[in-house]
Subunit: 508 residues, 2 copies
């Protein structure tokens, strides 16, 4: 490759569009079709994430390697996305055994599955219409799964009750996020719903905002303080955005994505106080609640803090808290998540239900995985030993990788990295040489895109460019997903080190 | 029950909203929350299907029966929805075995599964990132599944090629429909996108239209001619709607839902000619393509007819054709479907991809089911015999039920039924007595709602009221789902007969 001409991934953002043409008998001039100008203008504004071109290029490189093209590496390593299994992490056996038995109940009598797997599968099948995972469920989910999730939340929050009616099950947390945002988004111009959004943020969030027709009101997280959320910054952007839009929604991600920051109880209290004062609807993305790994650091839910602040807050602040199986048990491909809606007018909640209804329902296999995540094997159960071991091994790998990434990066010139306390990413800063920044400018891309592109081409490592997650102008980062097998992490770090030293010296 | 007061299902449309209240310490007055007036006005317009109250009441009755309340029946039979497994139909073993093996690959070595199941599972796992169904797939689906679907379509259409790039896999055909409609919907007032929609129609379609912000332009199917689509009626409503909206999209359902009509090649040609003349974007809901059961009647796809009409049409008419596993193999709970987009500008198709991307991807277990539907066991494969038997048994049940329904209904006074040729529903007409119509009017409901409500209360049979699917004013129908086990159908017909005779004599 190396050709930066017409086929350059900088220029091609299309993907499918660039593939083989539709069947057309020769000799006929196609007439005008629905052009872009006839596409919903809101849809037309959706921008693909900035890392897409890297992913497409990674696919091309994989194809080239398969075709025998010589490269200095045998395979591409992709640590740009939160996809545990894709990177080689193993599923939890209990989850898979139960779903397999639900799908093919003959297995229940095969003698091949532990007793608690069979009991659980039978229990869950009874909760499916017609005892089959092939039936539709209620739009908001199987009532038993809603109850199981509510019990999970109640345990998590030290007994503070959660009610099944507040649990809306969807095909993933992002889908739930979109449902709530679609509910709230309205207006145009000055009256258009504004959503205060952390920067850096989960890189698919801007697409979601554009699709629902809300305005992003970015607030900067403080890198120097380990990517802490600062309420003063929230106040500042809130003030500044009024007159441009109607900032009614505050989006927080805790533990942070991609920052790895974990909010303290005090910080959450401050946010809730602001939300109460300013009547902001709080969206708390808490999908990493089970992956806190900083020493002495603990996850506290927004809901718990809200209710412990007393009725002045717990009766008034509207909160939507999101969680999913993608991160909880690493089963993103099964697609299930939920949102707990608190302090929502029942008439409003009804519309959330109707929006979910247009999806029919979340996949039942995903809902079963969610039920297991919320109610895993307990001590004394036949499967408990193996389940606990698998969870611990997965957590140990994560902790080990985070430490190793920090060790390796801290020894590199031109890199600094805030310690990550939770989540599955790190987001180190890159101090790129002026020459590289200049070159990127000429190519019309961000300097971290240039860096990541060359990292991919030269050593076959795919990481997320900082600009995709968002960052202050002129500052650069990269995003590394770290919940991968230890040997993959080592190989990735080795390649990163080799490339980085070469890149820095090239421009020195 | 019998109380038609405050708790009457006529008045309560809420569902969840009517459940237990959120946790609130006593003694505090809740302050104002986001009220309905702050909800996205487009969302606020969404109306739940008219049969929802019946479904909720059916659930209540089930609960009452469990609590020991005496009724003239032991259980509720629900034949109001297209949910095969919920009604007791069995899944196809090969589908379930393969997905179970993909989920829990240890089964591959258990000696419990046929060789072709193991081979298929291994093949499909290789196509999943990290060899796991827990990984995300591309937004448009696993490329191998796109290819398999394209090959299926090519075979179906006598060799007319289908290309993987045109196949967009989603979590169900309704989701795909919504993506295409969201792409096309725009404007307000006279410029708002109008969608020509058959009446009667699939009862969730109006919700979808409202959510995407398009206007429904209803066209009547001709009951007297077996619910045929008439191009003159299309022309009439097209004309009449101009000036009120911008009718750019024509939605057809073939085989018909809930009518059971199957379009002839000639009828499809007429529709395509109109679409070409009037530059209409064609949406063809073809989810019942595998359930044609009328003697001598055959399914022909819109795509095939379009391409056989020559380049004047095949190069110009924009067509989206939908299909799904929900009807194809009765696995609605697994959630997967696809749309094939033809004659779409690549730049426009790219936005379809981005809309799917905001969902992340369709559930991988569903995608695997779709791959199997598109490429079932073939003669000579170890599983072929069983698969063919199961498919045949399922088809025979359907044909038998359709015949039995027609027999029973034709012997009842005040009922007429057009013979169904395809699909899984029948939509008989009810000639209800003036007294019943009057009573319904007083209760503020349609007469077929009253009929269905009493049918449910008195004999425990839940069917869809005609007004939910749409019908001419003053005319009444009911919708019966007929892909259920033969014994369920017999029991349902017995109950229907008993009730109907009583109801008619009550008002005579």
């Amino acid at each position: 490759m190396g050709d930066e001409g017409e086929s350059s991934p900088w220029k091609s953002t299309t993907g499918k569009a660039s593939q083989k043409k539709t069947y057309q008998p020769a000799g006929f001039e196609p007439r005008r079709k629905t052009g872009l100008e006839e596409v919903n203008p809101r849809v037309r504004e959706i921008q693909p994430p900035k890392g897409d071109m890297l992913l497409r290029r990674a696919e091309e490189i994989r194809a080239e390697l398969q075709q025998g093209v010589k490269k200095p590496y045998k395979e591409v390593i992709d640590i740009s996305q939160d996809d545990f299994h894709s990177a080689g992490m193993k599923p939890f056996s209990f989850v898979r055994q139960v779903i397999a038995a639900c799908l093919h109940p003959e297995l229940l009598h095969s003698g091949k599955l532990p007793a608690d797997v069979c009991q659980r599968a039978q229990r869950l099948l009874k909760e499916c219409d017609g005892d089959s995972v092939g039936s539709y469920s209620d739009s908001c989910g199987i009532p038993h799964v809603q109850r199981t999730v509510a019990e999970f939340i109640t345990r998590r929050d030290g007994g503070l009750p959660s009610f099944p009616k507040d649990i809306f099950i969807s095909s993933g947390s992002q889908r739930a996020l979109m449902v709530v945002l679609r509910l709230l988004a309205q207006g145009e111009g000055m009256s258009q719903t504004g959503v205060l959004t952390p920067v850096p943020t989960c890189y698919t969030f801007p697409m979601v905002l554009t699709e629902v027709g809300a305005v992003m009101v970015p607030y900067q997280l403080c890198e120097e303080q380990g990517w802490a959320l600062q309420v003063d910054e929230l106040r500042r952007v809130l003030q500044a955005s009024r007159g441009h839009c109607d900032p009614r929604v505050l989006y927080v991600i805790n533990p942070g994505n991609p920052t790895g920051h974990v909010q303290s109880r005090k910080s959450i209290e401050d946010v809730i106080r602001l939300a109460a004062e300013e009547r902001l609807f709080l969206l708390a993305n808490e999908v990493y609640q089970d992956t806190v790994h900083g020493e002495g650091v603990e996850f506290v839910s927004y809901k718990r803090v809200l209710f412990e602040m007393g009725p002045q807050y717990s009766d008034t602040v509207q909160l939507a808290s999101f969680n999913s199986i993608s991160n909880g048990i690493g089963e993103g491909g099964l697609r299930a998540g939920y949102v707990e809606l608190l302090n929502i007018d029942p008439a409003v909640a009804l519309f959330a239900e109707m929006l979910l209804c247009t999806d029919i329902c979340a996949p039942v296999t995903g809902q079963i995985a969610l039920a297991i995540m919320a109610d895993p094997p307990w001590p004394g159960d036949p499967s408990y030993g193996q389940y606990a071991e698998e969870v611990q091994a997965s957590q140990e790998t994560l902790i080990r990788n985070v430490r190793r990434v920090e060790e390796v990066l801290s020894a590199l010139p031109g890199v600094s990295c805030q310690p990550a306390m939770g989540g599955v990413n790190v987001f180190p800063r890159l101090y790129l040489p002026a020459g590289a920044v200049e070159q990127a400018k000429e190519a019309g891309v961000e300097a971290d895109q240039l860096y990541c592109k060359r990292l991919l081409e030269e050593v076959g490592l795919c990481v997320g460019p900082g600009c995709e997650s968002g960052q202050r102008e002129g500052i650069h980062h990269m995003r590394l997903h770290v919940k991968v097998p230890a040997e993959v992490m080592e190989e990735a770090l080795g390649r990163l080190r080799t490339f980085h030293l070469r890149f820095m010296s090239e421009f020195s």
